[in-house]
Symmetry: C3
Subunit: 336 residues, 3 copies
């Protein structure tokens, strides 16, 4: 693909020689023929060393390398990747080694791989790809253009929207964690609700999302979830929210729109994290957070305060020494 | 179902009009025809706004709403849910698309879904439900009335008791983590033990429970485990213990009876947590804990102490300022 | 098996009566006929109480019990376990209930269980065991003598080396977590790289290892990973490194050789942990660590410093009291 062809398809202005592009890579790992990008100015120095044939940049560089000028080089690069390395096609139809209940409705344009199970009254819409080992329970629904990677489990009655990517081993709709002591043992609170996942959602491998007790656990549209994330029952996650790996959200918590929860965060039950909040890695959120806050630590506090607290924390032995020295001096002064 | 019919089946005293009950919900989400409950007095105010037809309460309310009076409204509500929304039936028998080893013993009253694998000498008892994609290894045993949700893996020789609910993706019996350096690389300590899970145990999705090196990893009866919990080899978990999501218990730890480990807790290897202990979320338990303690923090300490420590911790910058001010004053006094 | 036969096969010097060995166990759990071992001198006292027929020791004990003297008793014991309890054999061949793409190359000495899926151009080498429910994607490769336990997923194009043990539910090659905001929603950065797992690697159940964006996520040889570990895209893990349960490594981090990351550790993206480092449980590593360091805490610091910090931390309420007392005294002195 030539640079000018890329620009015709994706926009941007070409500067320098029109080169043939055969691959894409980072600045450092480029081979001749590759296109690369510069999104973060701190990597500007690496441009001189790249072997790439062309570079995507926000502002023209005074260098002999061929360039595409565009507002958002990283986004442009993502689009180039889609052109250079298209998704592999999947043959529509139901494998003979899959089990599809006679009362399920599977669109003829969906691809059902071997060893899939589709239950009664389940629906699989157009252009879905359901990889081997997936389970789609009775009455569950998978929206059009959604991909379930191998061994995904969607329990009875749960709904996944359109254009979603659900990675291997994800469990959607297992029972929420609810018990009541009956005097002898824990009686189960039946979990009769469901899970509703919006559109354009990506869920990382081996995540777990519990069904609600009575209503719905809801994952908004354009939510992006990394691997091994846990979502408790009745949780609501707002649109565009990003949840990084190994984070856990306890039952009935409400996470706003456009929130970022970094890795290994924990959110307590029944609390609200406002729209646009960012929680740094390992934050432990135990109280409501108003919109727009940046927080850290456990219990979570304002991020800038946490940074100051940590500065003192790591020097606690020295602080103790200073207090001891003060005690010695004050004693001496008192005895004078 | 009428209120009086509920009371005939489940006990409790009916007050007010005998209403037809068609659903169940929380105070806030009730529709007409629903039954709801009041378990926590702090939600008393919401009773006035509920649209429910009837409410389960511990003490009669001076309100026109129909009521069932019972000692434990939440437990009663759980039982009502079971009546109103019974479990779906499963057809006994072995799917033609399942593989059952000729030397396995599967009770004729068990339900084996497609794509299940049951190994040699494995046993599946009466009324078990084994969902698609489950693996039951050679010599493994699944007790009566136990449900294995899709893609559960029970390694060779492991035992799951009666009336258990094992959620999707759970792994029972993978090798414990044991190695010894042989001078060139890590030699594996063969893990020749097993896992024994008691009765009435519920295990959340994608949990992992390792087999013992030589003896048994043991999960007591009525243990309730949330999602993504990790149990190391040789661990013993006592009856009635509750383990919340993403908690990890290291090898050879002993967790007593009636313990509560909240979310994202970690327990070090070879230590003992006494009966009836409660560990708050994110506790890191690195030493033995006597029975009945409530602990928090990392390293875990008495919960009330931890609360006091946290109060000072979050104000560390101010404490440092006070020490600086003292130093200044003491210096001035000394120079007087 | 007689003691002298063990010594012929595995080396070591026999002392005392040549006994018949029928099992193996720890000092405390031994039955007559068992062989046991003493690796850690602190358990020396338990030798007197063992019921074992023989013991493996580093130095001869002045006791009537039969002994094998060897340099590394624990390693010797591991080898004895392999002799006494050999791995069960697997019948080579492809189950009729497996799906193997006509363009896949499966060695005739490999064992493919029912409900396995092997994609186009995938390779499964000699003596591999692929348990039920595994997915081996197009162009993926599984080296000789490697075992995939049930429901392992190896995405397209990923490579697992030789003599590996991959436990149930592991996901290798799911998409790395990369998005760029396009003004309306998160656009996906296509993840076009792969995962390369070395030889003699063991990966615990339900671990997740993401494919690289453009190049390879690489797991070195002899790496040992416990359960529920998360490895982000582009991560490199050096040979012989040990990663304990529930640890998460963010994208593009580089973990050296012979590193130990204990349980529930977190490693931030793009940082380097030097060869031979040890991170204590729950460390949160947010900056580069030079080789050979022992670290703890969050943000991670030198382990000995962390221990001193923790000592002051847990006594913060008392430190505050001392500061208050100083303030009172200094005030009194100033007023004198």
């Amino acid at each position: 693909m030539r640079l000018t062809s890329l620009a015709e398809l994706l926009g941007g202005a070409v500067r320098g020689e029109d080169r043939e592009i055969t691959g894409a890579s980072t600045l450092e790992e480029s081979a001749p023929g590759d296109i690369t990008f510069l999104a973060n100015p701190k990597y500007r120095g690496k441009v001189n060393e790249t072997r790439a044939a062309a570079i995507i940049v926000a502002e023209e560089l005074d260098l002999p390398i061929s360039q595409i000028i565009t507002e958002n080089p990283y986004l442009y690069f993502a689009r180039v990747l889609n052109l250079l390395y298209p998704e592999k096609p999947h043959k529509a139809g139901i494998s003979e080694s899959a089990y599809v209940h006679p009362d399920a409705i599977v669109h003829e344009g969906a691809c059902i791989y071997p060893h899939v199970y589709v239950g009664a009254d389940a629906r699989v819409f157009e252009n879905c790809v359901v990889y081997p080992g997936c389970f789609i329970g009775d009455g569950a629904s998978i929206g059009e253009h959604t991909v379930l990677h191998p061994n995904v489990v969607v329990y009875d009655g749960c709904t996944v929207g359109r254009h979603c990517i659900i990675h291997a081993g994800v469990v959607i709709g297992s029972d929420g964690f609810g018990f009541v002591w009956d005097g002898k043992r824990h009686a189960k609170i039946p979990q009769k609700g469901t899970v509703i996942v919006g559109d354009h959602v990506e869920i990382g491998s081996n995540c777990t999302i519990d069904r609600a007790a009575l209503t719905s656990t809801r994952i908004g549209s354009d939510v992006k979830m990394d691997n091994l994330v846990q979502i408790g029952h009745n949780v609501v996650v707002g649109d565009h929210t990003v949840i990084v790996a190994q984070t856990g959200i306890s039952g009935s918590a409400r996470i706003g729109k456009g929130v970022v929860l970094a890795g290994q965060v924990g959110v307590a039950g029944h609390i609200t994290v406002g729209d646009g909040c960012t929680a740094a890695a390992r934050s432990g959120i135990v109280a409501d957070i108003p919109p727009g806050k940046v927080i850290s630590g456990f219990p979570a506090m304002d991020h800038t305060r946490w940074l100051r607290v940590q500065t003192v924390y790591k020097d606690l032995p020295e602080l103790l020494k200073r207090v001891r020295e003060l005690e010695r001096k004050v004693k001496a002064l008192a005895e004078d």
